[in-house]
Symmetry: none
Subunit: 204 residues, 4 copies
DNA sequence: AGGTAACCGAGACGGTACGTCGAGTCTTATG
DNA sequence: CATAAGACTCGACGTACCGTCTCGGTTACCT
């Protein structure tokens, strides 16, 4: 239970930078706390004092490189399809980038056996990203472009679920074309019933 | 380059059993070759001689517990919706079972960093499972219940993608109700256009 | 170069008490500055400011518990043998007492590697104690009970040397009976030659 | 509980050599297990597997440099005084040698807080050395040069006790002249009563 | 009376070594 | 020659203390 007000900003920054660099150089599996400490010119204890695990350090390092949460927001051009294609392409690009992808994959691994890390991962990275998509979908829903009875978090997962499925399970390559196909299909699922435009949509 | 004909079946079996048990008891991360060898009453070298990695042992252990590929096939009652609910419920149940889930999660982890393992994983476990669903969808397509222009492997991923998304990313609990919602939405996406039953469906 | 006039007596006392207690509880080797500071409710720096080493703290702690130098003096009943038995028994008792012995042993340890400490140890504790014995022997010498050519400091060591030998080298238990035997033998060595009472004793 | 028959002689030897060298180079206090392992080209675990403590390693290293126990035996020229002077001078010389002395002093320290080490120290080094002196004294006793009622181990301690006292307590320098004085005095104590050559000596 | 310089408790910091664990390799004895 | 057993080298783990270095806070002296 250290006192955060006395924390050394210099050390914190050096640690996150070192972690970020090293994860790119040697990969997450071969990344060691010892190496981070050495590179950062810091005692190991200083890392253990402030982070519970290697995963937590890397998560913070990743967040530090991510810019402010405002630009997570999707544009709203009125064209849901186009706006969604923007995000899914960005997701595909990010997951294809070897560096980012390596770290992401590593964190995916860690959260499989570390519920605490999973929680902060969801809270700080995944959650905001999915929420941004959900926001755009809500706007579309308000504009009558989507069914009114949708659970928006499910709607989001209809879109990103198949993308992550390919990335994580490696059943087939994750391409922009695939992302487009998935988006089209998903929007078809989310669209209001065309036969009963004035009735009550009911799902489930 | 060991001689497989002289391999001890007793040892092979003991190793796979021990690996299966241990992955359930301590999780994949804390699973060690040493512990497997000790539990199996086997020399470490015997494991290193026949398997290249911890993941390979666990994969074999999982395959050994999996029953014959024939009963992967989905029933065809004529009602796609019902037949799919059967599989998705089975998937949800399997991923909820702590023992089975432990091993599966372990393999998910390992394939993130071992492409070779990923390949044999897809080939021997994931592939057959997804193919079984694809087969049922093909039958439905042939019966005119689904769009004719579907890429069936994409279709399958529209259904299972969101399920694995929840399981692996832990954004929300994976429940049978969720599986039903996803299946309904997916089928809505995969169904032929209802407004132009005589026209040509066109996707993309 | 701290200013001794501003030194906190409260802290000084708490540190010495804590050191004394801890050396009895965990032994000298496992005694840490950190533990002393914690037990004394004192910042580590306060210890480092006033003492150069762990040994110096313990030496001071011991001196603080030692009573005034006046009662080091041996009684002079006229019977050297009896008077010496008094001291040697006291030494044996002190070295047998687990608490006192712990601290003494600690200092013995420390002076092995710290000549400066050894010097002040000899000056402030060992010296006065040995001098007290030497004083009694001198009286006996003056009374004609001991050889006239004795180096008194050697004489003292003939008596206490064997005692410390057992205590420090642990070759055999240190008992009052052993102390008596040693004293008898030593006195026999120190006594004037009985065959030539009128001649000049000459040693070396 | 490792199996000693499978122990690597190569490693054992390298460790003892490294320990011996390092203790001479940096002293006992700054000697670390890690440095020994590195110098010996050995895993730390190999040291921990076979020795319980740093002190035990150094003790073994010291023993390894000591030649066979046969040459501990004192010569018997018929002149006890001369023969004893030989050993005490050897002891003084050994305790004056900075290298040997450093290690010896270190072991003295260790045995103060490690009874197990103390035991093997006594058993393997101190014991045999003292026994060798006792043997010579026994011969003198048989020759009628010493009192018949002597406890020989006490007799030995009358001689070496004062020597170790100076060495360990650092009250005064340990010189050959001091050793001679002590030996003379001790022999005077141990000699048979000259006034009653035919009577029964009785001590205590 | 206010300023300031020291001590003080607290504890974060960069380090070093600890003793343990497991990886993957090598050796020995047994079948 | 495969095996069970386990010793080996190596590297990282997470912990404990070291001695130094800020932090506020509280005296005690000095203008």
């Amino acid at each position: 239970m250290p006192d955060p007000t006395r924390r050394s900003e210099r050390s914190r920054h050096a640690i996150l930078t070192a972690a970020h660099e090293l994860v790119g150089e040697v990969g997450y599996r071969k990344l060691t706390i010892e190496a981070i400490a050495a590179r950062a010119g810091v005692g190991k204890q200083t890392i253990y004092r402030w982070w519970p695990s290697k995963g937590a350090v890397v998560l913070d390092a990743m967040l530090a490189t991510v810019s402010d949460p405002a630009d997570l927001a999707l544009p709203d051009t009125g064209d849901v399809d186009a706006d969604l294609r923007g995000v899914v392409h960005a997701i595909v690009a990010e997951l294809a980038d070897p560096t980012l992808s390596g770290t992401s994959r590593a964190l995916m691994i860690e959260i499989q056996e570390d519920p605490g890390l999973a929680e902060s991962m969801v809270e700080r990275i995944l959650g905001p990203n999915l929420a941004a998509i959900a926001d755009r979908l809500r706007a579309a829903q308000d504009a009558g472009q989507l069914r009114r009875d949708l659970d928006l978090s499910v709607a989001v997962e209809m879109i990103v679920g198949p993308l992550y499925h390919r990335w994580l399970l490696r059943t087939a390559p994750l391409t922009p074309a695939y992302a487009d196909t998935v988006t089209d299909l998903a929007l078809r699922a989310l669209a209001p019933d065309r036969l009963a435009p004035h009735g009550e949509d009911r799902l489930e």
